[in-house]
């Protein structure tokens, strides 16, 4: 018994030493990939990895002024094949778990991204909470080769600018891998992705001299929403349509708009929408055809009054409210019809609403929902409340005119 016990202890101690800390990797043995770009290539994929140059990050005193990130490119039949080839250039093991953004080239997006999705969701190293972007009219490689101000790591810059613009501008899509796949797999909806493009001169974007100017030569800009039909990019939505998508998906938290002033079409009142809530509903008409209605409840503030209306009169406020209501209903309605006719892709999730409300009716449509979607009628009902008019009451224009 005593010897047995001793043997157990010996084994336990050996267990501490012998496995040699397998799967141990020190922080300074890692090349953290912040962004991954995938483009088509004649022999498979062209993969661009934006790797953090850790000797430049996190130090108060920057040493030689090297760029904070390094990009490596390699071609492979599959993405992991290409990634492995990156090791011929990189001195460290690529570490993908902290990927912030995955950028897809437009050419790749148009030809279908299912192979990319298979890799990123199959690999246990990758989390599913990174954002996916499409490089508008360019290759993913070009987007990843631009240095950014504020955030030394461009991937972080992209990541945080998506968060900020989605919250305050509402014309970008904040789509993670998880959400993309959910939308893709659901029969009654099609996915969207946010777009990004390089503005300015790409040729200087990759050098740190880009950051030494007050107005950098090359910058990254969000470029509306990319419409997907299944896994293929079919087109781009400009700002107004992108906002529409976010209104219907109930993703708007704050955005800015304007409506015309009473009595004059050229003068406008600026509106800040600070709260928006959308509910979608579907009813069947006499013939059993689904009729969709989106109820949009909006709370707004006035933030710029560029005419001489009397804001102390409640009828004027009511007028602005009505204008905003009409504008929302008309613009959103038109935009939805445009998407219906042009792309025939249900990126708004109307099919899903039908599926939940009338599963039996849905069964008739599900096999070719995209074609049916083109013919569906969508009503928009907006409810607008103007809450605050800001720190002053009367417009400055009015004050000056009265004097």
């Amino acid at each position: 018994m005593f010897i047995f016990r001793k043997a157990i202890w010996l084994l336990l101690i050996l267990l501490l030493i012998l496995p040699g800390c397998w799967s141990r990797k020190e922080l300074n043995e890692l090349a953290v990939v912040a962004a991954l770009g995938v483009d088509t290539h004649k022999s498979g994929f062209l993969v661009t990895a934006q790797v953090i140059n850790s000797s430049e990050i996190g130090k108060q005193r920057s040493s030689v002024g090297a760029t904070p990130v390094v990009t490596y490119q390699a071609v492979g039949i599959t993405i992991p094949d290409a990634l492995q080839r990156v090791l011929s250039q990189a001195p460290r093991q690529l570490y993908l778990s902290h990927l912030r953004v995955l950028v897809l080239g437009e050419a790749l997006a148009r030809s279908g991204i299912s192979d990319v999705l298979d890799y990123v969701s199959r690999s246990p190293d990758l989390r599913t909470d990174f954002f996916m972007l499409v490089a508008q009219h360019s290759k993913a490689r070009d987007v990843l080769n631009v240095l950014t101000s504020f955030e030394p790591i461009p991937a972080n810059s992209l990541f945080s600018s998506i968060l900020v613009s989605h919250k305050n501008w509402a014309a970008t899509g904040m789509v993670t891998l998880q959400q993309y796949i959910t939308e893709l797999e659901r029969a009654g909806s099609n996915p969207i992705l946010s777009g990004v493009r390089v503005i300015g001169s790409q040729a200087v974007g990759y050098s740190s001299s880009n950051l030494k100017k007050i107005n950098p030569d090359a910058q990254l800009q969000h470029a509306g929403i990319a419409v997907f039909k299944k896994d293929k990019l079919v087109g781009w939505l400009e700002e107004s349509k992108s906002k529409t998508v976010n209104y219907i998906l109930n993703e708007v938290s704050t955005t800015i708009g304007y409506v015309p002033c009473p009595g004059s079409e050229n003068e406008v009142v600026g509106i800040e929408i600070f709260n928006s809530d959308t509910k979608m509903d579907v009813k069947l008409d006499q013939r059993g055809i689904p009729q969709f209605t989106a109820y949009i409840h909006v709370e707004a503030n006035l933030n710029a009054v560029q005419c001489a209306i009397d804001l102390s009169k409640s009828k004027n406020i009511d007028y602005i409210q009505n204008q905003l209501k009409e504008k929302l209903e008309v613009v959103i309605g038109n935009n939805i019809r445009d998407v219906q006719t042009k792309y025939g892709a249900d990126i708004f999730g109307f099919g899903e609403v039908l599926h939940r409300e009338y599963p039996k009716v849905w069964a008739k449509y599900r096999n070719n929902w995209d074609t049916h979607f083109k013919t569906m009628s969508v009503q928009i009902k907006a409810f607008v409340a103007v809450r605050h008019i800001g720190s002053i009451i009367q417009p400055v224009r009015r004050e000056i005119h009265q004097r």
Binding site: L27, N28, S55, I57, G58, K59, R100, D125
Partner: protein
């Protein structure tokens, strides 16, 4: 009471003066501090023996000096028996006068500070309680200081210590039992408890264990602690110690048992449960809400002190995906160029800190401060600047060390310090997986541990609702009274 086993233990006191002194000389040799003073009382020869510095025979000598000339006149008797009885019954103006027939008893009484009066012709001697040790006065307890609460601390004198407790509990049910232990040192050991509140099983168990102690000497209460603890190989203490009489009083009122040892201000308490080591006496001297918060903080500190370095090692070497991205970037930047693996880095810093801490205790107080400043600031900062240690590791080690000091009992802090290194080694090999296994084993061990037969985790496992008033939290007294009854007694 332990029986003496020295040579003359069973011999009787001889009736012959010379034989008596020879016996003493033989037993004690010719120590210069043993004083033999010959006297003549009522015509009878005798001797007074005491040890200088240990006994204060002034009163004895004065009373004999004052009275002896008058003796023959008042009683007229020169019979040795009369004088002996007279001495024993009223001539000595000292409280405690006893009679001893055995030489062994005489010698041990002499060694503990009694003055021996011997008259020739009697086969017994008088032992006068003249113990007067030079003692430290009652001072502020240095090991567990409080902002609010009594400042007194125990001293090295057992009698002073028991009196400090008696003054706090003026209750006839307070019991004190004294033993003499240690074959060579013959140290007085006393146990104190409240009759009626104490668990009789625990008392029985303690007495059984005390009886089985066989030690040559007992110079500090830890000698006893090591002998009576339930499990020799546990990192956790199962005997509580304190130098604060108010803590002892509270423990006695809770039905626990205190063990006093002559010569040390540290008094033991059994049974000692896990949660006792997180209680500070100040918890009871501050408002309940604040005390609860602070006590909760201590449990957090326990976790921090135990786990921070190993957790840091685990997530930076095995589970980088758990670190938030921005934190990871910052950590990576700091670790750039560090030549050691995280485990070695942590070990270096922890060992350095332990060295500084040990050195700080040994060094004189004035130098100790500067050493700790040199150690923390200079070595810490220099190591970071030299690129040997990452700045994050310095923070980890510092917070660990500070959290360790926030534990109110020193011996629980020691357990945490030992376990920290074990956990670090395990996580360096197995990551968070190993850490979880180690923590599960630790929990099993804690639940398995006992103190005097009482489960160590009592109040939590076995869970006792009635104890919750004063376990994780310390409820305010009106709430305690309302929901848990007025009695202060806890199950433990």
């Amino acid at each position: 009471m332990t029986q003496f086993t020295i040579g003359e233990g069973v011999e009787h006191v001889p009736a012959d003066l010379e034989a008596f002194t020879n016996h003493l000389h033989g037993a004690l040799s010719d120590s210069p501090d043993i004083v033999y003073r010959s006297i003549v009382i009522g015509g009878n020869k005798g001797v007074i023996v005491y040890i200088e510095g240990l006994a204060d025979p002034r009163l004895v000598l004065e009373s004999i000096h004052d009275e002896s000339p008058l003796w023959s006149e008042s009683t007229g008797s020169t019979a040795v028996e009369d004088n002996y009885t007279r001495l024993q019954e009223h001539a000595i103006s000292e409280g405690k006068v006893e009679e001893a027939h055995l030489l062994g008893l005489v010698i041990s009484a002499l060694l503990s500070g009694n003055t021996i009066i011997y008259l020739e012709g009697m086969s017994s001697a008088l032992l006068v309680g003249t113990e007067n040790l030079k003692q430290r006065a009652v001072q502020e307890a240095s090991s567990q200081s409080v902002v609010r609460g009594p400042r007194e601390g125990f001293t090295e004198s057992l009698r002073d210590n028991t009196s400090l407790v008696r003054r706090r509990i003026q209750n006839p049910k307070l019991r004190l039992q004294e033993h003499t232990m240690g074959e060579e040192s013959r140290t007085k050991v006393a146990i104190m408890f409240m009759e009626g509140k104490v668990d009789p099983d625990v008392l029985l168990e303690l007495n059984k264990r005390l009886k089985h102690i066989s030690l040559e000497s007992i110079l500090e209460s830890n000698y006893i602690e090591e002998m009576i603890q339930d499990q020799r190989y546990s990192p956790f203490p199962t005997v509580y110690n304190t130098e604060r009489p108010d803590i002892i009083a509270a423990a006695l009122l809770d039905g626990r048992i205190a063990i006093f040892v002559e010569g040390t201000p540290f008094v033991l308490v059994v049974p000692a449960l896990f949660l006792h080591f997180f209680q500070s006496s100040e918890d009871y001297y501050q408002r309940g809400d604040f005390a609860s918060l602070v006590r909760f903080l201590r449990y957090i500190c326990f976790a921090i002190a135990l786990l921070t370095p190993s957790f840091y090692i685990a997530i930076t070497t095995f589970h980088q995906e758990m670190i938030p991205a921005n934190l990871l970037m910052s950590l990576i930047g700091q670790r750039e160029g560090i030549p050691f693996p995280a485990f070695i880095e942590a070990l270096l810093m922890e060992v350095t800190f332990e060295i500084l801490r040990e050195a700080g205790i040994r060094l004189p107080k004035s130098i100790g401060q500067s050493v700790s400043i040199v150690g923390t600031l200079v070595i810490g900062q220099a190591a970071v600047e030299a690129g040997l240690i990452s700045a994050a590791m310095v923070i980890v080690v510092s917070i660990t060390a500070i959290a360790n000091f926030a534990l109110p009992t020193f011996n629980m802090g020691i357990s945490v310090r030992m376990l920290r290194f074990v956990l670090m080694a395990i996580t360096a090999s197995f990551g968070l997986f190993g850490m979880s296994i180690a923590l599960i084993m630790l929990a099993l061990h804690l639940c398995n541990l006992q103190s005097m037969g009482i489960p160590y985790m009592t109040s939590f496992a076995p869970f006792r609702w009635s104890d919750q008033k004063d376990a994780l939290l310390r409820l305010s007294r009106p709430v305690m009274n309302k929901y848990f009854g007025r009695s202060g007694k806890k199950d433990y």
